[in-house]
């Protein structure tokens, strides 16, 4: 199974949200800790979808409490893909 590299997600989110990659940790919230507004999240979704070849509806991202939730979502999709 191909391993996803968390560092790559950190760099992607950092670029879009204008923060340092080290600030993007599993337990931080996009909105509360990284000051992402609704426009930032739409941009983040497009970037995540492109990079990871997934579909990520906005409602789903809004329900994710922190970066770790997004990471688990991406890992789950990757696992499904590997099984298929």
């Amino acid at each position: 199974m191909a391993e996803l590299d968390f560092k790559e997600l950190q760099e992607l989110a950092a670029e879009i949200l204008g923060v340092e990659p080290e600030q993007v940790q599993m337990n931080v919230s996009f909105q509360r800790d990284l000051a992402a507004d609704s426009l930032d999240l739409v941009e983040l979704i497009a970037a995540v979808e492109d990079k990871y070849d997934v579909e990520l509806p906005e409602e789903q991202l809004e329900q994710m409490k922190n970066v770790g939730d997004l990471w688990q979502f991406l890992e789950a999709r990757e696992a499904e893909r590997t099984r298929a």
Partner: protein, 418 residues
């Protein structure tokens, strides 16, 4: 304007992001030395275009004026506006955040708005579908956003909007900002223009109307107002911002007054989409109104910074208009088109050129019209050819004319002649 209701308007700060420099001293040095800002287009591959030259802003570092995230989310023209505004406030020594928010307003004019961002999002739509349109497309493209952004970052909470009149936009913007101060709606205004349209669609569109110079082999010599060899304007970009203040307020707080804005006139050509009225009828009325409001006789004017775009029709029409307004004095006046150096900043042109007037008054030097080698017999005024001229300038006017037939004239006067 200066006498009408007692309030007078001081210019106390200028800021520049332009093809000839991103600070006042560099801009002034290039203006008076006649160092052109025009070169081959580098923003995109223009090799298939009939015009492959423009005056691009060089060496602008958004991080000097805003954080990385802000820069990412601003259209290029908004970045320029924010940079120029911060310079102007610094020169004026004005901190809107320390004042009542209603006391400082912002007008940033743009002829077009965030064109590059519209084009990128349209490409994303066509190539990758609706969900790949950037959510920042709307804030980056709308022509009023620069005024909003400048207010957010400088804490200026007074009247706030954009004025759109093509290449006259910031002439109107500065004039209307002065009126806001005069009617007592703000003590100070940040006013000027911003534009960034050296883009594939905009350049192509201007090529199609044959408005832009095709002198691709000699970019620095392409913009040649009043010269027989002129063949169109040269696209520029940038932002120039003024701090305008109620004179009394400026004096009370000990600000250095660079010049006084004493008149503003606006009119319509009522003639054609893009061509000027052949006799400059609208331009004549704008200049006359501005001089009347300034309570200045034509013979008191020392310098005219012409709209002078380097188009066949425009330069002749403006010359005729100046002769109508100034009569015999037209031949004693110094008239120059600094577009020959900085090219055409479209919505920022009026602010750039009014700033050239302020500096000419302040420094006693009239910037030249460069590339004026063979003067058009139909353009028979003193255009200060090729070399700056030392001269005491007490009163200067700046003309700006836009597609659509919009005309604006500003009158500026030496500060100590009160």
């Amino acid at each position: 304007m200066s006498q009408a209701n007692g309030r007078r308007v001081a210019v106390t700060g200028l800021g520049f992001v332009t093809p000839i420099g991103n600070d006042v001293e560099t801009v002034w040095s290039n203006l008076v030395e006649g160092v052109s800002g025009v070169g081959p287009i580098t923003h995109f591959d223009a090799s298939s275009y009939s015009t492959r030259i423009a005056a691009e802003v060089k060496g602008f570092e958004p991080e000097r004026y805003m954080d990385r995230k802000t820069a990412r989310h601003l259209g290029r023209y908004c970045q320029f506006a924010l940079g120029a505004s911060q310079q102007a406030l610094a020169q004026a020594g004005l901190v809107p955040g320390d004042m009542d928010p209603d006391d400082v307003g912002v007008i940033v004019s743009s002829g077009i708005g965030g064109m590059e961002e519209i084009e990128k999002s349209h490409t994303a739509l066509m190539e990758r579908g609706v969900r790949r349109i950037s959510p920042f497309t709307v804030p980056m493209m709308i022509a009023d956003m620069a005024a909003g952004i400048v207010a957010m970052h400088t804490k200026a909470g007074g009247p706030n909007y954009a004025i759109v009149s093509a290449c006259a936009s910031s002439g109107h913007g500065i004039g209307e900002a002065a009126e806001i101060i005069k009617r007592g709606d703000a003590k100070a205004m940040l006013a000027g223009g911003a534009e960034a349209t050296i883009t594939p669609l905009t350049m192509g569109a201007f090529c199609q109307i044959k408005a832009v110079s095709e002198r691709n082999d000699e970019p620095e010599r392409a913009c040649r107002p009043f010269d027989t060899g002129r063949d169109g304007f040269v696209m520029g970009e940038g932002a120039v911002m003024f701090v305008l203040e109620d004179m009394e307020f400026a004096r009370e707080r000990g600000a250095q007054v660079l010049a006084e804005l004493i008149g503003y006139g606006a009119s319509a050509d009522m003639h054609h989409f893009t061509a000027p009225h052949p006799e400059g009828a609208g331009a004549i009325r704008a200049m006359r109104k501005a001089l009347k409001k300034a309570a200045v006789e034509p013979a008191q004017v020392d310098y005219v910074n012409a709209h002078g775009t380097s188009t066949k029709l425009g330069d002749i029409a403006e010359t005729k208009a100046i002769k109508q307004v100034f009569g015999d004095h037209a031949h004693q006046l110094a008239v120059s088109s600094t577009k020959s150096v900085h090219a055409h900043l479209l919505g920022a042109a009026g602010a750039m050129e009014a700033a050239a007037c302020v500096l000419a008054i302040e420094r006693g030097l009239i910037p030249p019209t460069i590339n004026l080698d063979d003067q058009d017999p139909e353009c028979d005024l003193d255009y200060v050819p090729n070399r700056a001229r030392q001269a005491k300038v007490d009163v200067a006017i700046s003309n700006s004319f836009g597609f659509g037939g919009h005309n604006a004239t500003l009158v500026l006067r030496r500060a100590e002649l009160n």
